[in-house]
Amino acid sequence: MKQYEYLAKGALREYGIPVPPGRLVNNPDEAAQAVQEIGPAALKAQVLVGGRGKAGGIRFATTPDEARQVAQAMLGMDLKGYTVERLYAEGKLAIEREFYISVTTDRNKKVPLVMASLAGGVEIEDVDDAQIVRQWVDPRVGVMPYFGRELAQRLGLNGVLARELSDLVVKLYRIYQDRDAELVEINPLAVVDGHLVAADARLNIDDSALFRHGDVPIIDEGSELEQKVHKIGLAYVELDGDIAIMANGAGMAMATVDAIQYFGGKPANFLDAGGGASVEPTAQALDVLVSMHPKVIFINIFGGITRCDDVAQAILQVKNSSGIPVPLVVRLVGTNEKEGVRLLEEAGISAYSDMAPAAERAVELAGEGRA
């Protein structure tokens, strides 16, 4: 889960990493006050989209009056689909150089990875590999100052900057651990007056670890519909097609989306009803699909732990209460298949046993597919 810049900066400040003076701004008056206190400032939209600067999400103000006007214009504006609700006013820096540093998890090596570069200020993906220094962390040892000295040496830094970097990487790793971060990144790590300052920061928290961070604000970046389904406790991703999809298990749900596209259809969503979902969440999930007004609904179930009769019950429950006003294609095999298929057939719904013809039929009913 991504955190807003002001929260990431707050974490850095708390751990003693130098950041520019900054204030969270909720209205134009607060913007004026912030500039009064910290002098000429950048007003930065607190949204979780990349390329914020280019899209007009970062503007500057030198006087309190100017800050009030700029904030007036920015608050409530639309930035790549997100409404700007808050700004972060931050003192302007006279930046001499821009570096990069981050701590993240290396999925293959299964250990933390520190990446650093003297070519900061741009997305790290755009930096030439030869200019990036990578140092893996033994999780049983952690990061001590010598790790930072070695990093500084490999980067070719010396003197004050080397000392400051060594100190900073120890603190950054502590944030990564203490906050259960997936990523903590400083980019650019600016040199101002010969000293390191974290000019911009990203902090992404591991969703699975939120239970031990009661103070972390829950930020669901999803669309309205995505947030609604997430609240039921199901994984859901909105896509831009019109064939609504439900499957059980993340891999099956992905494969189902792929299958619709394979036959030339346009999937409307990814929905994992769970590897062992019972009647109620399945019915809730189906209700959501109906509410999307798709052309067709395609349900693809391989009953392992999920029982086919439970899925059939859920379908009938929705059909008999709120109704299913669009064509429905069901593929149902596995545990308690006979009972599930019988229940559906009694209600006039026939079920497929193979995935391919079922997906093809769904696409055909949507009037899509290959000519």
């Binding site: 969703d207 670890a209 394979y262």
Partner: protein, 291 residues
């Protein structure tokens, strides 16, 4: 034969008195697995499916000589359970729970490497060896049959779909291994493939992968010297970048983890890569011709 899990595996169930623990203990016993007891602190006077329940792994190992353990405790307690198993000499630990913090998984995997413990998962359906009539996991019992195909997968239901199509297509399995859907898991495609390479009964391997990370790309490098035919199917062709597709690990981040990159690498390494799950059996029939 089989890999990792055989008839010699004497299995404990950590969290045996919970709903999942009870249900799957019954299923594992029904399949023929040698489950010898369970752990549930404070409930040692109970029995589950006739099996003894212990307060600690230490006591359970002392009494039953178990060498494998399957963990069903809630995610926040999984690190404790995994370490308890490893520190008491268990050599195969299967972590079923989803939503174990990644930092906990990093610690578990690091310790497992030190102690030479095989960790399967987290966020896995487990593993099953049909020829040995044993399983440690939550997969349905009826879809597998003994045979010469090794299966290694990241995802549960999708691997059921494919295993069942193999069974129906006449291809039984040596062992089916679920690596798990999390970003950090105990195994890699390479570590599992290596076991399959050394298992004389495994004549071909089916890989079931998905978007996210670069496990498939790394595996491709290894496949060049694997020496047995491989069919690969990967899910997530239609997945948009930056969105988690159910599994915590299934996400295209900053241009990495795309299906194109994985399929290209696997194809270049000589694997037969199919586009849809129902194409696996035909592809397998094709590559098995030469074996």
């Amino acid at each position: 034969m089989a890999i990792l899990l055989t008839r010699d595996s004497k299995i404990l169930v950590q969290g045996i008195t919970g709903n999942q623990g009870r249900f799957h203990t019954k299923q594992m016993l029904a399949y023929g697995a040698a489950v010898v007891g369970g752990i549930s602190p404070g409930k040692s006077q109970e029995r589950v499916e006739g099996l003894p329940v212990f307060d600690t792994v230490q006591e359970a190992v002392g009494t039953t000589h178990a060498n494998a353990s399957i963990v069903f405790v809630p995610a926040p307690f999984a690190k404790d359970a995994a370490f308890e198993a490893m520190e008491n000499g268990i050599k195969l630990v299967v972590l079923i729970p989803e939503h174990i913090p990644v930092q906990d998984s990093i610690d578990i995997v690091a310790r497992a490497q030190e102690l030479n413990v095989t960790v399967i998962g987290p966020n896995t359906f487990g593993l099953i060896s049909p020829g040995e009539k044993t399983k440690m996991g939550i997969m349905p019992n009826h879809i597998y049959q003994p045979g010469p195909i090794g299966v290694v997968a990241r995802s549960g239901t999708l691997s059921y779909e494919i295993a069942f199509s193999l069974t129906n297509g006449g291809f039984g399995q040596t062992t089916v291994v679920g690596m798990g859907g999390d970003p950090v898991v105990g195994q890699t495609f390479i570590s599992v493939l290596h076991h399959f390479k050394n298992d004389p009964d495994t004549r071909a391997v089916v890989m079931v992968g998905e978007i996210g990370g670069s496990a498939e790309e790394e595996a491709a490098e290894y496949l060049k010297s694997f020496g047995k035919p491989v069919v690969a199917y990967l899910a997530g062709r239609a997945a948009p970048a930056g969105k988690r597709m159910g599994h915590a690990g299934a996400i295209i981040e900053r241009g990495r983890g795309t299906l194109e990159s994985k399929e290209k690498a696997l194809t270049a390494a000589g694997a037969s890569v199919v586009t849809m799950p129902w194409q696996v059996v035909d592809a397998l029939r094709e590559v098995m011709k030469g074996v």
